[in-house]
């Protein structure tokens, strides 16, 4: 009863205020609403923010527009001064030539094989290592983290030569060499992993968490797992689940967004990579990889005035065709990219 009375009083007072409010003329009401510093600063801030974001988006997207426009232009357009961004002679000939003459499908298939296998390996391995570093206290934990950071800090360019040599004459602590000398190992020399099939060094590096930027992935995973409450695993242990099973059934499903993020990075960076491809696949002439398709198709070789411009446009078209599959992948995965990082609780 009492409650009802109070609500009734409140309703009445509310109505009173409403009436009071409506008695003030419209102009004054609008003035009060829109002509205060709070509202005005907000408007200015929103406009400023929008313009800024649009501007930076333009800076990011403009090169892609320019490249797409250039890829659709015919030869005549490159010597025509009046052509800017909008081609006069539309053609898909550049795409066609690259597709047919530069073995695009072959490069696509083989690069996909390399990128997919290494990215999957890297994602899973970095997951394991990150979990191990984050959730278990053991002697050497800090030292291991330091080792991870060292692998991140030492650029692979610095150790390029010895890395090549290491895989060219692959050996584990001189063990194979020793076997060679005794005569047990029936190979003429040490195992050459950079031979016809340069994928093995990459697979080995991925499986041990040493490939390109893997230190970053391990670090991200570790930070993510540190944010996962211990109680989750403890309850699993109490229910009789082992460490590994807990990891597979509870931790992995939790970290899917983060794993997709890392997979996306690993896949895309391997896809457009030229450092490792040139290092390890240099002997493998049979295989065609993405870096190999960046060349001028023989049917498009010309000697006319706009040659430089035209060839630069063709190379950029090659670039567009290389990233086209990544754009599709990105459209599917970008939701996870932000989600995964957002949930990681990276502080500390």
């Amino acid at each position: 009863m009492n409650d009802q009375a109070t609500t009734k009083v409140m309703k009445e007072s509310k109505n009173k205020i409403k009436v009071e409010f409506e008695r003030t003329p419209l102009l004054q009401r609008l003035k009060a609403k829109f002509l205060n510093t709070y509202f005005l600063t907000n408007v200015v801030w929103y406009a400023f923010r929008l313009i800024l974001l649009l501007g930076i988006s333009y800076v990011i997207l403009y090169p892609f527009f320019a490249k797409i426009a250039g890829s659709l232009m015919g030869q005549e357009d490159f010597i025509d001064v009046t052509v800017f961004l909008i081609p006069k002679h539309w053609t898909l000939g550049t795409y066609k030539a690259i597709f047919l003459e530069n073995h695009y499908m072959k490069a696509f298939a083989y690069t996909f094989l390399v990128s997919f296998s290494t990215a999957i390996a890297q994602t899973l391995i970095c997951c394991l290592i990150g979990y191990g570093l984050a959730k278990f206290k053991f002697k050497g934990n800090a030292a291991l983290l330091l080792a991870v950071i060292i692998t991140m800090v030492v650029p692979h360019g610095t150790v390029q030569l010895s890395m090549y040599m290491h895989f060219r004459y692959f050996d584990i602590f001189g063990l194979f060499g020793l076997l060679n000398k005794i005569g047990v190992w029936n190979q003429s020399f040490l195992v050459n992993l950079t031979g016809d099939n340069g994928i093995w060094p990459l697979i080995l590096l991925s499986l041990t968490g040493l490939a390109f930027k893997n230190g970053l992935y391990i670090f991200l995973m570790r930070q993510f797992y540190r944010g996962v409450p211990d109680e989750l695993e403890e309850s699993a242990y109490v229910d009789g689940s082992g460490t590994f099973r807990t990891f597979c059934q509870i931790i992995i499903p939790l970290s899917i967004p983060m794993m997709v993020t890392i997979f996306l990075f690993a896949f895309c960076w391997q896809w457009t990579d030229n450092f490792y491809t040139e290092l390890f696949f240099s002997n493998a002439k049979k295989l065609v990889l993405m870096p190999d398709i960046v060349q001028i198709p023989s049917s498009l070789v010309t000697t006319y005035a706009g040659k430089n411009l035209y060839e630069s446009a063709i190379r950029n078209t090659c670039g567009l065709m290389i990233i086209a599959p990544l754009v599709i992948l990105y459209l599917f995965c970008q939701k996870f990219l932000v989600q995964g990082i957002e949930r990681s609780g990276l502080v500390g």
Binding site: P63, L144, V238, F265, Y330, L346
Partner: protein, 327 residues
């Protein structure tokens, strides 16, 4: 943890013959090792030998034998001497490269923090903006960066407009601002020529900076997300302005991320193949006698210098970084 700990204790009581040190802690630490095993193996078997060899190369000459073999000849600091004193470009490029890096790093960190704060606010089209801002991280790396660089190079060599204007590199045709504009802006402010040039470089380099700050933006976004909204709410109740809130709340809370990002940016910029020193090292590697080992020596010297910079960064930052939880 306590609940789980009772289990093995009960087991130990039931079977007293079992070894005492087979405790939960020991088992946990063993599974820790097990999880890290791939990395430990790789580090010992692949990484350490590679590092060791690389250092060894930098102190020796490679002598090729007949056939496919080679052996190393120890020459002491010969390669280092050659890199420092005989090579005309190395010291100059190194100093210039480090100087450029010291300008770029703050620009990248500040820019990525600023954009992360913008992208963290609620607004229309936030998802779209986020998607656009992370495009360069994914797409403008490796091969694509190389193609862009070659286009810019071509343009530089053959004069204006020899390449389609993609706006990717600072070039003759795609300058956003002129030094003149900024000079006019700074007129009467009594600032030096150097600052004008720097500001101009940063603005014209905007694409480069946007390109290189993708991962940093992600890390900042994550850091911003982890700040409790309750803190902001109470700030607002107390009447703090946005400016105060930023300096008193956001900045201290995000400071560990600033350190991480500064270090990451240093590493990223000095390991990327398109910086001047790396290009020089690459050039030295492929030509001249003993180019490979001299390049190794150069790379290690470069690495040491950068390590020094990271160390100084970390030391300075340690005094200012605020950690929310200490563990």
């Amino acid at each position: 943890m306590n609940n789980a700990a009772t289990q093995p204790a009960a087991k130990a009581a039931a079977a007293p013959k079992r070894r005492k040190n087979h405790s939960l802690e020991k088992r946990r630490s063993r599974s820790g090792w097990f999880f890290c095993l791939p990395f430990i193996l790789g580090f010992l078997v692949i990484y350490l030998p590679i590092i060791f060899n690389s250092i060894q190369y930098s102190f020796s000459h490679i002598v090729r034998d007949r056939g496919a073999t080679y052996h190393l000849e120890f020459v002491g600091f010969e390669n280092y001497r050659e890199a420092l004193f005989t090579n005309p470009d190395f010291t100059q490029t190194l100093v210039k490269g480090i100087g450029g890096m010291l300008i770029d790093i703050p620009a990248i960190v500040i820019f990525s923090l600023f954009v992360a704060i913008l992208l963290n606010q609620k607004m229309i089209g936030r998802a779209a903006f986020r998607a656009i801002f992370f495009i360069p991280v994914i797409l403008s790396t490796g091969l694509i960066a190389e193609i862009d660089a070659s286009s810019a190079m071509l343009e530089y060599m053959t004069g204006e407009g020899a390449s389609i204007d993609t706006g990717t590199k600072e070039s003759t045709t795609s300058q956003i601002v002129d030094a003149m504009d900024i000079e006019r802006l700074f007129e009467g402010m009594k600032v030096g020529e150097g600052l004008v040039e720097t500001v101009k470089d940063i603005i014209n380099n905007i694409f480069n900076i946007v390109n290189r700050s993708g991962v940093q933006m992600l890390i900042f976004l994550a850091g911003l997300q982890s700040i409790s909204p309750a803190i902001y709410e109470s700030c607002k109740m107390e009447g703090a302005t946005a400016w105060e809130t930023f300096w008193k709340i956001t900045f201290p809370m995000i400071s560990p991320m600033i350190l991480v990002n500064a270090i990451y940016s240093v590493i990223d910029s000095f390991t990327s193949a398109d910086n001047a020193v790396m290009r020089l090292i690459e050039r030295v590697r492929t030509d001249g006698t003993n180019g490979e080992v001299v390049a190794s020596a150069m790379a290690w010297m470069y690495f040491l210098v950068v390590l020094l910079i990271i160390g100084i960064f970390a030391l300075i930052a340690r005094a200012y970084v605020f950690y929310q939880r200490k563990d």
